[in-house]
Symmetry: C2
Subunit: 511 residues, 2 copies
């Protein structure tokens, strides 16, 4: 069969990914064994997943993977993996009071995990309500999602020149990207090493704090669980109070790792090579670090001047200055790159601080990181392009390229970046209105900040929003229609929107 898009190739590859998903399910299985919990849920899931993966793999027509089949594969895989990953939630919840027994909720939680969003409909969070295995599975889905994003960003999207994604590869060091093949590129492997190393390092540090007596409740289980959701900018926690459940020491340690998670991982390769200057001369990194510093300073000023009376949260004994600084740095670090952890219920802060956080949420992570959203490099290009338009208004005949550091940005990439940013804002705006209308329809009127926050938290893969949908809250109360829309937003948002949308266009399937 020599069709334009051979869907069998894409579906078969998805089968391979599903097959390997069963390997990841070994983690919660081991957890269940260690804690003496029911091993049936993950035992059944593993067997089912392997069989499904193997069966679907058989579709492989043995041809080469072409560009559009790769796009279809990416869009399909994130969705199918979320569906398969939801099965343990449904199985574990079966016959219990768990909200995840409901398939829509389970899929929401699973897509929220694999898209590294971290929005939850779990209702009562914690290992006292759910098994250690299930709680760990949530964390694992985020870590897998982050791994997937790294491949997508550095090995797949740049080859397809979607949304100006080629910019990302320009920044990537090491061997030039191979022509798109089912094999993971060398660059991705290098970045995976950084991802893996930072995850291990964070887990070790957190557990070290525990052993040293600085973090009573940060046991080995929680150390691993939070390392799993920090590096992918995931944001899921095993505690209903997120990172506020842990000591100030834990919170201080997590801050730099969140910043790392939103940084282009390729830069660590230079750092490892001793090229510190290269890192600090990187335009995007400077902007990312600068924005973090500025927003932290502003938020610190607001918090220190009393914007959040209830900041005692977290059981800290430090002074008001250190407390405000920690809260500000943590929340900016968490929301800017779309992690979504919280050390305080910022939904209770006064309006100024929440509006600052809303702005922060529009920034996004860096290219080549696991962070979501519009992303720093895109904002740089958008702002430079708008400045050029302004220049053109007074110099209509001048030709001026847009530069990023020393590199001249390709005009087609600019078009892609500006188009993406506009598309993102439009989808965000329409979804916010839809969510507001839908909630009103079922008699749960949302405040505008709740509706706007929910839309942004989903498409930006951030997680928490404001009001009742804040970091200590839940999306459980929302109608199924809104949950489904949010599932689609998380899916599309994580795959840079166009990767998902394109599969639904007629021209995708035609020559």
């Amino acid at each position: 069969m020599n069709t334009v898009v051979d869907w069998r190739k894409s579906v078969a590859l998805t089968g391979t990914v599903v097959k390997f998903l069963s390997v990841a399910m070994l983690v919660p299985l081991v957890v269940a064994l260690v804690y003496g919990e029911d091993v049936g849920v993950f035992g059944v899931s593993i067997v089912g997943t392997v069989l499904l993966g193997l069966a679907v793999e058989q579709l492989d027509p043995g041809t080469e993977l072409r560009e559009r089949e790769a796009l279809l594969f990416v869009a399909l895989t994130w969705f199918v993996v979320a569906v398969v990953g939801a099965v343990p939630y449904v199985l574990a919840g079966w016959g219990t009071a768990s909200t995840l027994a409901d398939p829509v909720n389970a899929l929401f939680e699973s897509m929220s995990g694999f898209s590294t969003t971290g929005a939850t409909v779990m209702g009562e969070i914690g290992t006292d309500r759910h098994s250690h295995a299930i709680m760990m599975w949530r964390q694992v889905t985020q870590w897998l999602g982050g791994m997937g994003i790294i491949v997508l960003m550095v090995a797949i999207l740049p080859e397809l020149a979607v949304n100006g994604a080629q910019l990302i590869s320009e920044e990537a060091p090491g061997p030039t990207l191979e022509k798109l093949t089912p094999r993971i590129s060398e660059t991705a492997r290098i970045l995976w090493q950084a991802y893996f190393a930072f995850t291990v390092l964070l887990a070790v540090l957190l557990y070290g704090l525990h052993l040293a007596g600085y973090a009573p409740n940060m046991d080995l289980y929680n150390s691993v669980a939070h390392a799993f959701s920090t590096l992918p900018t995931g944001g899921f926690s095993t505690k209903p109070a997120s990172i506020a459940a842990f000591s100030a020491a834990v919170q201080w340690v997590i801050i730099p790792f969140m910043v790392v998670a939103g940084t282009n991982f390729a830069l660590f390769w230079y750092l490892f090579d001793g090229e510190v200057r290269t890192v600090f001369e990187d335009t995007e990194f400077r902007a990312y670090a600068g924005a973090t510093a500025v927003f932290t300073a502003v938020l610190f000023g607001l918090l220190f001047s009393g914007a959040a009376p209830a900041l005692a949260n977290g059981g800290t004994t430090e002074g008001a200055f250190a407390n405000a600084l920690r809260q500000a740095a943590f929340q900016v670090g968490s929301l800017m790159n779309s992690t979504g952890y919280a050390t305080s219920d910022f939904a209770q802060w006064e309006a100024h601080s929440q509006l600052v956080l809303l702005l922060v949420m529009f920034v996004g992570g860096s290219a080549g990181s696991t962070g979501g959203g519009i992303k720093v490099v895109r904002w740089l290009i958008v702002l430079k392009t708008l400045r050029r338009e302004l220049f053109h208004a007074s110099h209509p005949d001048a030709v001026r390229p847009v530069r990023l550091g020393d590199v001249v940005v390709d005009e087609e990439a600019i078009r892609g970046v500006v188009g993406f940013t506009l598309l993102y804002l439009l989808v965000f705006g329409f979804a916010a209105v839809f969510i507001a209308l839908d909630a009103t329809r079922v008699g749960i009127p949302l405040t505008p900040m709740e509706a706007v926050g929910a839309s942004l938290a989903a498409i930006g893969n951030i997680g928490p929003a404001f009001g009742r949908l804040g970091p200590f809250g839940s999306y459980l109360m929302l109608p199924d229609t809104t949950k489904v829309v949010m599932i689609l937003l998380m899916w599309a948002g994580r795959l840079e929107i166009i990767t998902v949308l394109v599969v639904f266009t007629r021209s995708f399937w035609q020559r």
Copy 2:
């Protein structure tokens, strides 16, 4: 003097405009004479304006007007005219309880008039509180603003190729535009004729309704006053209840004229020539009419199903069906193209309907009309461009132009349009956050809908927002800082943003 930008040329031309502004002040002077009111305010204003204009005109270096000097002229003129136009408000308010005695309020009201925004800080509106002359001056400022916009759109911006404004001229019929000169182009004159004719026709129809007994309070004064603010999509009214103060018959008559005000005036030239098909084949007109119809239908559905219990407003005797249809058509017709009239306090409607209106407010008028906002033709190009990006994702090597009707849209124009839309949304978003923060600062916390509405109403030159800033409300309560920001937004919004911003860039003044 042979500088890059000879500001004397721009300033001198502004002087000429100011000189002619005094002619427009004869209208309120005549009104004052007719109603036996104090003629001092406008007498003094006219003399002062003429002298100021004549004096400034002397700066003219006698050189030709070049492109950047034209831009500076446009930006400067709208601001200076607003300042001069504020003088009668201050003079008339002097020593009285009028809120317009305050210079910031007076400038707000004047800029709101000349930018055809229609947002008010007048406090108590009406000829019982203010002289007939002052109330008429507000209406006249809007009509003048609309005249200015027509010249700007068809004779100045297209020559400068700002924001893809060249698109507008492609649609314009008649003699090709002359090279930019101080003389008004032939095209502008043709469009002015349509503008003038429709204004007279509306005034005659409204007064005709009055004489026929269908509109008791629509006397000659009110007929002229509302014709003056309908055609420029202005929205000022002599009544605090806007058009709800008049009969249903009046409201029905105004609806088509609002639609006309948001239509490319060039199309009426074809219509006049009997080329009806050309009009209905115009891509933008079809989209504009289509959007009006769809939004009206949606809003009708909501209103008919009880979204606005207090719809009895307007003293109508028609049934609920006709009432809901009239309200829906009127409010969509008014808010889509940025007129801002109201026949009901839509700020009291339930959330669904207000969100629909919020969406409507993002549309804008047509190119070549007096309507503000992003504009229909830009949305068409943005959507077609995004669709092309989607196509490119699956056909990376394909070259596909963006078409508008039969015309291939120039890539530079596309860049301008997409950039403008993004800039508009960014300025709108930042201003909304600023307005929210600023109001909280002075202890008048706004709801998000109020802050978002105020920002959009100003930059989109719409006028009314939501909540306390709704059509029957006022911006008077806001702090001076917010009022100044809104003055800047109205100014920049009316001049397509870049025309104003560019004057503040360093490169504008350099070679």
